[in-house]
Amino acid sequence: MVANRASVFFITICFITAFIFSVLVLPNAVSFFRPEWVAIVVIYWVIKAPSQVGVVVAWTAGLLLDVLEGGLLGVNALSLAIVAYLILTMHQRIKLFPLIQQSFTVFLVVGIHLMIGHFILSIVGDSVPGIIYLIPAISSAILWPFAALFIDKLAIKLR
């Protein structure tokens, strides 16, 4: 149970890194594949420390991401809050999944995250045609095992 507590400092560092990676300047062709770093960090910490990172933290992170990306305020906030909610309802099961299965869950949840954003933007009239916008779900799922293992290792080192 004590393992549930993670340092607030470390969580903050994870989020800041995710923010930096999500606005990093990339060539235009590559940026279609940019994983949803903040969503991955939210998923990771909701699974690892559900008592600390929940819906409200995810919402705040989403709001900051909206400001950073210069988009409509509240879009990423809403979809990341829903991501946190979905993961929270099943975090005890996901914890036991093998990494591949976790990856698949990440694919679905990040896909939902992207779809909510796309849905809101299309109501507003700002959307893009096609389903290219879903590519980050694939790259996020591919990134997941590496990111999870990496943060695990780092957390053990820092303890």
């Binding site: 507590r5 606005v23 300047v25 279609f32 409509l72 305020l73 509240g74 809403l78 909610y85 700002d126």
Partner: protein
């Protein structure tokens, strides 16, 4: 030890039963935010404060690009640099010759306008700024520039590079500002064909190398190769700056309007240094313009 135990018990119960309500709360809050942000400008202040606070993250995310440029500069050979300097000197000479004539032409233009009783020419002052970030969303064309409110940048300011119009400032924080490019899906510029004076509106298409002209009659005098300059009619962009060159004109009898596409003159996805232009009526004329250009 006691504290830790109590917290770990909370993990099961506090997050449990109220979870749905929490989600509902933040969902309602988000919808409210989206609505207000879309329809009103009450949130601009909030956004300003937040994005000023987040500036360090923008700087950090620009570090790799900065490092690459730095290494690039470091490894440029001496002969290459000398060549560059020579080329620049030659170019400066050519531009200076033009500038000499420009002063004379400006004075002459002013006198002619006085003769015609036309209103004085509005002079523009410029600030040089550097690009520090590109929108992470490949579908929206906007960039982040390293001058903000502290340097007097305001929303609606026109942004140029050395070849032509790039876009306009849409959001200002303390030290940075966000520039919407003319190629963005939601952007439109009032333009004028330099040769014939036909007016049109150039819409962004979401690709960097193409603009389309909206509602151009089949009979309008537009040809391939025509230069489109900003007409200044929207009141936002200063008139006379090159925007794009017409790349194709198609007359389709089945459509009510001609399909005209144009290629932006500015290097929208390449320029690193940009100019922020502000309209400014001044009596001092060129002197002040030069001074501000250096700053």
């Amino acid at each position: 030890m006691y504290l830790k135990k109590e917290r770990s018990i909370k993990t099961i119960f506090v997050q449990g039963p109220y979870l749905g309500y929490r989600l509902l709360l933040v969902a309602v809050l988000s919808c409210l935010l989206i609505f207000i942000d879309l329809r009103f400008d009450y949130l601009d202040k909030v956004r300003h404060v937040m994005s000023s606070a987040l500036t360090p993250i923008q700087w950090l995310s620009n570090l790799p690009t900065g490092a690459v440029n730095w290494v690039d500069e470091l490894t440029t050979s001496r002969s290459q640099m000398n060549e560059d300097v020579d080329a620049m000197k030659a170019r400066m000479l050519v531009l200076e010759r033009k500038a000499q004539k420009f002063a004379f032409i400006m004075a002459e233009n002013g006198r002619l306008r006085e003769l015609l009783n036309a209103s004085g020419v509005v002079d523009e002052s410029v600030k040089v700024a550097e690009l520090i970030g590109v929108s992470p969303d490949p579908f929206s064309h906007n960039v982040l520039v390293n001058k903000g409110q502290s340097s007097g940048v305001f929303v609606g300011q026109a942004v140029l590079d050395s070849n032509g119009l790039i876009g306009q400032v849409v959001e200002v924080s303390e030290f940075t500002c966000r520039v919407l490019l003319i190629s963005d899906n939601s952007h439109a510029v009032p333009v004028q064909v330099n040769r014939s004076g036909v007016r049109a509106i150039a819409l962004g298409t979401g690709t960097f190398d193409q603009l389309t002209l909206a509602n151009v009659p089949d009979t309008a005098d537009i040809e391939v190769g025509d230069l489109l300059v900003s007409s200044g009619l929207g009141g936002l962009f200063p008139p006379g700056y090159p925007v794009a060159e017409v790349s194709s004109v198609q007359h389709d009898p089945s459509k009510p309007f001609a399909t005209v596409t144009a290629t932006p003159k500015a290097q929208l996805n390449r320029s690193r240094l940009v100019l922020l232009v502000s309209k400014k009526i001044n009596e001092l004329g060129n002197e002040e313009l030069v001074k501000e250009g250096e700053g």
